[in-house]
């Protein structure tokens, strides 16, 4: 197969999804069953939920948990990753724990948190954080191990403060790893938060999916899923991609001519 250089034609992005919706519409129309609503039914449900405020209430609850859990997991995971990446002894001390946590199913953490701390918000967020921290730590540890010792020496000779060393020397080098942890992290956290809500909260997209499942309301399930996907994409386009572009600008500069 030969790959033509440059960008693919603009229309190529607009084939798969419309075709999918079309096939869905035709099949749903032919089956005429409440178990497979048409795209229009789903859109209708979405509008109703949106107009009643239900959608925003539950999306907001989910988003809030995601944001809090994400921030906590990134802070904790980055700190642990940097320390483990910089010190062999610390790494040896905590590596077995990390392996254990990495292999602990999310469901187990969630159940244990609810059993031990009750069906409360703190337990829900803690469960998500505990699931996410090991992934962040492992990714950031990789970055911390690959920090350039030559820049470390430079920072030492020129008496960089701790903050300067962190901000100017470490963060730019860790940035690709932090971005990887962020992307992987958000994807994971979104999914875990839904399970957490399904198992023990009375708000959020997970809770709504649970309710819709009880009554086999497929239109509601699909409507909430769509809203959810839209929010995730919005965050990707509005926050993650600009951030990545901004911070990797120095990587491919044009040469100067003396």
């Amino acid at each position: 197969m030969s790959q033509s250089p440059g960008r693919p034609p603009a229309w190529s992005y607009w084939v798969a999804l419309p075709s999918f919706v079309l096939v869905w519409a035709v099949v749903a129309w032919a089956l005429n069953s409440p178990l497979l609503p048409t795209p229009l039914n789903v859109l209708d449900t979405l509008m109703q939920e949106s107009a009643s405020g239900e959608l925003w209430h539950h999306l907001g609850a989910t988003l809030g948990r995601v944001v809090v859990a994400f921030i906590l997991a990134m802070l904790l995971g980055t700190a642990i990753g940097v320390v483990m990446g910089r010190s062999r002894t610390t790494n040896a001390l905590f590596d077995p724990m990390l392996v254990l946590l990495l292999n602990l199913p999310a469901l187990v953490t969630i159940i244990l948190m609810y059993v031990w701390f009750g069906l409360v918000e703190v337990a829900a967020v803690m469960a998500v954080v505990i699931n996410k921290v090991p992934n962040v730590a492992v990714t950031v540890r990789e970055g911390a191990r690959s920090l350039d010792y030559r820049l470390e020496e430079m920072a030492t000779v020129y008496d960089f403060t701790r903050w300067q060393r962190f901000r100017e020397v470490w963060v730019p080098q860790l940035f690709p790893y932090l971005m990887a942890a962020t992307r992987g992290g958000l994807a994971l956290i979104w999914k875990i938060v839904l399970v957490v809500e399904l198992l023990g909260r009375s708000s959020g997209v997970g809770f709504q999916l649970h309710m819709a499942f009880q009554v086999f309301d497929v239109a509601a399930i699909l409507a909430y899923s769509l809203a959810f996907i839209a929010v995730v994409q919005l965050i990707e386009l509005a926050i993650l991609q600009p951030l990545e572009r901004r911070s990797s600008r120095w990587r491919q500069p044009e040469a100067a001519h003396a």
Partner: protein
């Protein structure tokens, strides 16, 4: 100004032996010796980068501002030249002035990786100057530059030393010719483990020639 009492340094096997020396203001030392003998190891020790060497072995280091021109530029690639200089304490105006003094006038907004090797090394030299150093450490500053660029940089460094008579310099090189232009004191590092075989002040005319002559005899391959 700086008193070295280094007991030695091993990397598996001993590389550096005892190094005793005193560095005074205005000393322009060229550190000569065969490649791989430990010249950079000694320079790193003097810079205070070697954590295995106790601080007492480099007495006076704490009080000194040191500018270190590494073999690579070691500028932060994600910061402009001006920002790199400001990070070590220069004001924006000072940063521009230091860049201009090394022939990079107007390059403040460039990123290090946009520069050629020779320009990047001069930018790194500008950063050395930005700390207003008492001691300038240069690790093979002329390596992998073409003869014209190397010559320009040599003149530039000699000029910096002339305008800052109180500044001390240690320049690692394996080219005796560099010493003729830059040095008023020669160190020759050799042996296993390596020690300062000579530490001679270059004052009277003819002495540098005789030193270089001895150097060529000792190490014909490297001069």
């Amino acid at each position: 100004m700086l008193e070295l009492r280094i007991a030695g340094r091993s990397f598996g096997q001993p590389v550096l032996g005892e190094v005793f020396a005193t560095i005074e203001r205005g000393d322009r030392i060229c550190l000569l010796g065969p490649s791989g003998i430990g010249k950079t190891t000694l320079l790193n020790a003097i810079a205070g980068l070697d954590k295995t060497i106790p601080a007492e072995a480099i007495r006076g280091r704490e009080a000194l501002r040191v500018g270190y021109l590494f073999q690579e530029h070691r500028l932060l690639p994600w910061r402009t030249l001006s920002a790199n200089l400001q990070l070590v304490g220069a004001t924006p105006q000072e940063a521009e002035a230091h860049l201009a003094s090394v022939g990079l006038k107007g390059y403040g907004h460039y990123l290090p990786d946009q520069l050629s090797l020779g320009m990047a090394r001069r930018a790194a030299l500008a950063r050395c100057l930005a700390v207003k150093p008492d001691l300038l450490l240069l690790d093979e500053p002329f390596a992998s530059l073409d003869p014209v660029m190397a010559g320009e940089l040599k003149t530039l460094i000699a000029g910096i030393l002339d305008t800052n008579p109180g500044m001390a310099m240690i320049c690692v090189t394996h080219d005796g010719g560099d010493a003729e232009i830059l040095a008023n004191r020669l160190w020759y590092l050799d042996g296993k483990p390596a020690r300062l075989q000579w530490d001679d002040r270059v004052g009277e005319p003819g002495l540098i020639d005789s030193l270089l002559g001895r150097l060529r005899q000792l190490d014909p391959a490297d001069s």
